[in-house]
């Protein structure tokens, strides 16, 4: 029979220091002065945040594997042909970084709504949808980059440079699509008449999305100096 300590009658505890951290953005927690929000005391958010960091570690490791494959492949075989990165890729980079900015704006608007400083739920929703659209624009732009390479006669198997270009950008784009799925989920929760979006969900989705931007900068860097 489990020995459990019956919790004392409702006693409002101040959140421990560990629970008081705001989770990034520096804009305070979603603690409501009243209302239906989950409080910062909702500890499931710790697991969600840990989970996303763990997931990002795995993705980092995967791209490390791709990078080392690239480095080794460059030294074997004598068929390394310099590839000009299609210029649209730089526009795509701006779009992706812009989407990170709009996401942060959305988070701040959301925090203001949660703190009841603003009753406007439409503002964070607008900025989230902007982020979504910018993300889609990024993926479309990547597709345009692939089309440009195809027009130059560079396909997946043409030479190792094009192989790695397609593989790296496609795998990144796939992960971005996953991030878009997460953003869609957040939008859906926000549009629900009953406010059911947890801070941990918003945080985890944002960390993932910002990581996609950082990862893209890394991939771009590797391609620029190596391919």
């Amino acid at each position: 029979m489990a020995t459990v300590v019956q919790p004392p009658e409702h006693k409002h505890e101040d959140p421990s220091p560990a629970q008081q951290h705001t989770g990034g953005g520096g804009f305070g927690s979603f603690v409501p002065t009243g209302g239906p929000l989950k409080t910062l005391g909702d500890p499931s958010q710790e697991a969600t945040r840990t989970g996303i960091w763990v997931g990002l570690a795995a993705i980092t490791m995967s791209f490390a594997a791709f990078t080392s494959a690239l480095l080794v492949r460059q030294t074997t075989g004598s068929d390394w042909r310099h590839l000009t990165v299609p210029p649209i890729v730089f526009a795509n980079t701006i779009v992706l970084l812009a989407s990170s900015v709009t996401l942060e704006i959305a988070r701040r608007r959301l925090a203001a709504y949660a703190r009841h400083e603003s009753a406007d739920r439409a503002a964070p929703l607008r900025w989230l949808i902007t982020t979504l659209l910018l993300g889609l624009l990024f993926v479309a732009g990547q597709y345009a980059a692939w089309a440009k390479l195809r027009a130059e006669g560079l396909y997946l198997a043409s030479n190792p440079n094009s192989s790695f270009f397609y593989v790296l950008t496609a795998v990144h784009a796939l992960h971005v699509l996953g991030g878009l799925g997460g953003l869609l989920r957040v939008v859906a929760k926000l549009r629900n008449p009953v406010f059911s979006l947890r801070k941990s969900t918003m945080d985890a989705t944002s960390y993932y999305w910002h990581f996609m931007g950082i990862l893209w900068l890394y991939v771009l860097f590797v391609m620029w100096i190596k391919l």
Partner: protein
């Protein structure tokens, strides 16, 4: 509504339908049992494959009745072709390493007991957990279909070395669709494994109950946690490797295929790739993978030994640090699989050194186990016998690793039966003994019935003797120069070894048959076994505080409070010679 400082998982309501209860369940306990069932199916498949291989090795021209129905081309008239031998070898290795040794000790027992042992209601992400099992199941189905495609399963071994695995159908039967299915199956398995590791790590870090500090977690929980950290990074490397392999096969890229290869009279239209790159990527995953296979067994065995000895280990903290050291070092040794691959010989030195270093924590652990056992009054049960068997097998199999770690000796022993003996003893026997020990130990908790102890002890002794008879001679064979992955022994230096092989084959068939005792015990006890009390082994960890089997929500919606580490044995208390972790009572001195 209680206000606790304890993490709660997203609550999921008790399941109502049959499908929700037993099939698409979010409950970590059901998922753990599902992994175990999958591992059981995979291990019997793998074992049957090994029988077919052993029979063929000794009687290469004898028809095996029924084999022609599995593959008309691979076994015309029931007589296995050499290529089909390699196909069976590949599937044996893949099934055993991935679907048994990664699944059973880690995913099955870990999923079932990790949340309970830390006092949580469920894993941190129950839906991801359910997805991870069904993704594993999908990977299993994709792999098994390779048996039924026209050309059969791949012939490149579980290691799938390029260029054999990368060029496509020209390189042999099974290298068409079969190899692609293999690559796809492993790719999907990686996704499942990553989801599982994610859950384990987040759960261990964030869902521990009040009083359950990291230091108070049982050793097996630590083992699962460390294993999941290793698995996260290892499988994240195998995924890109499999992707690049599949692209080489179907998209005409040349990551692993060099120029100028003429195979089956066809000039391969690839150039510039490096077969060595595949080996580096694969073994960077592959070596941590074998520690993923053994660490949970070490944890389970430690837990059972402490319980059976009725006293703590000499130092459980050192055991945990050693497990961490093994996990860390496992990423530095992959090149010891590649000493003779043609890479720079100096790098052999670079890899040999950490390989020898990794023997240090393993030896410390062994000495702690042995030293703790010395002078103890061990309670003999099927579980503790298998735990002792693990120790024996780990030492026997581990010492051959010392030899293989040295490039100068490995040049001779690489790709011989010496290597096969080494990894079978540590993985194929020691880790399996860990699974058996865990089964006999936790079966009462999982099912509410006791297994037959006498059948369990019989199973142990016959398996112990049988596996020594099978795998010890492998070392002799390897030293005598017996090359591995040969389907028949016709060379004049191999023919004198055939009597040894005959002995091994008989031992293998015998030991395989003995496992039916285990299977019978498992199934019979599940339905007709004596009812199990809550704590038949008088064990201190939290799973023994709940009824057998545990209720849906583990602790009934409450959070246990933990006061002790799980090694309070040999103390005077109101319960006897042990203190449960959640007992507020202090040991009387």
């Amino acid at each position: 509504m209680s206000e606790t400082a304890v993490s709660t998982v997203q609550q999921h309501a008790p399941p109502s339908s049959f499908i929700r209860k037993h099939i698409f369940s979010l409950d970590h306990k059901v998922i753990g049992k599902q992994y175990y069932a999958l591992a059981l199916v995979a291990v019997f498949m793998g074992m049957v494959l090994s029988w077919l291989m052993r029979i063929h090795l000794v009687w290469p021209n004898a028809p095996i009745p029924g084999l022609q129905f599995l593959s008309k081309a691979g076994a015309p008239g029931g007589v296995m072709t050499p290529e089909y031998y390699l196909s069976l070898l590949t599937m044996h290795g893949t099934l055993m390493v991935f679907f048994v040794l990664t699944n059973a000790p880690f995913a099955a027992f870990g999923n079932y007991f990790l949340p309970i042992q830390i006092g949580a209601e469920d894993m941190a992400f129950p839906r991801f957990n359910m997805m991870s099992f069904w993704t594993t199941f999908l990977a299993f189905c994709i792999l098994v279909t390779a048996f039924f495609v026209p050309d059969g399963p791949p012939i490149s071994g579980w290691t799938a070395y390029a260029t054999l695995s990368a060029v496509g159908p020209d390189s042999g039967p099974g290298e068409g669709l079969g190899q692609t299915l293999w690559g796809l199956s492993i790719f999907v398995f990686c996704i499942a494994s990553l989801l599982g590791s994610l859950n384990f790590i987040a759960t261990t870090l964030d869902l521990r109950t009040k009083g359950m500090t990291l230091a108070r977690m049982p050793i097996c929980t630590w083992a699962w946690f460390i294993t999941s950290c290793i698995a996260l990074l290892a499988f994240a490397v195998l995924m890109p490797a499999c992707l690049l392999l599949i692209l080489d096969r179907v998209a005409g890229t040349s990551f692993f295929i060099p120029a100028g290869l003429v195979i089956s009279d066809h000039l391969q239209p690839h150039s510039g790739g490096s077969p060595l790159l595949w080996q580096h990527l694969f073994w960077f995953f592959g070596h941590p993978e074998v520690y993923i296979a053994i660490l949970p067994a070490m944890g389970i065995v430690s837990h059972i030994l402490i319980n059976s000895m009725r006293r703590p280990l000499l130092s459980h903290k050192v055991i945990i640090y050693c497990m961490m050291a093994i996990g860390f070092l496992s990423y530095m040794v992959w090149g010891h699989h590649m000493f003779v691959s043609g890479m720079n010989p100096f790098s052999s030195l670079v890899f040999s050194f950490p390989t020898l270093m990794i023997t240090i924590p393993a030896t410390i652990m062994t000495l702690i186990w042995l030293g703790s056992l010395y002078g103890s009054r061990l309670r003999i049960s099927a579980a503790s016998l298998f735990a002792l068997g693990f120790l024996s097998m780990f030492v026997s199999g581990g010492v051959s690793g010392f030899f293989l770690a040295q490039p100068s000796i490995d040049i001779y022993l690489h790709a011989t039966y010496f290597v096969v003996g080494h990894f079978h003893m540590v993985m194929g026997v020691a880790a399996i003994f860990g699974i058996f020990a865990g089964t006999y130990f936790w079966f009462p908790k999982m099912t509410g019935h006791m297994m037959s102890e006498s059948l369990g002890k019989l199973h142990f002794w016959l398996t112990f003797i049988g596996t020594y008879c099978i795998f010890m001679p492998f070392h002799y064979l390897g030293l005598a120069g017996n090359v591995r992955r040969y389907s028949a022994f016709v060379d004049d230096f191999l023919v004198p070894l055939i009597p040894v092989h005959r002995f091994i084959t008989f031992a293998a068939l015998f030991t395989g048959a003995v496992q039916l005792i285990f299977l019978y015990n498992l199934i019979h006890s599940r339905f007709r076994g004596a009812p199990a009390p809550a704590n038949p082994w008088e064990c201190t960890s939290l799973e023994w505080t709940m009824p057998s089997p545990p209720p849906f929500d583990n602790f009934g919606g409450k959070h246990p409070v933990v006061y002790h580490d799980p090694y309070q044995y040999g103390v005077k208390s109101s319960t006897g010679d042990y203190l449960m972790q959640d007992s507020p009572e202090q040991a009387q001195t």
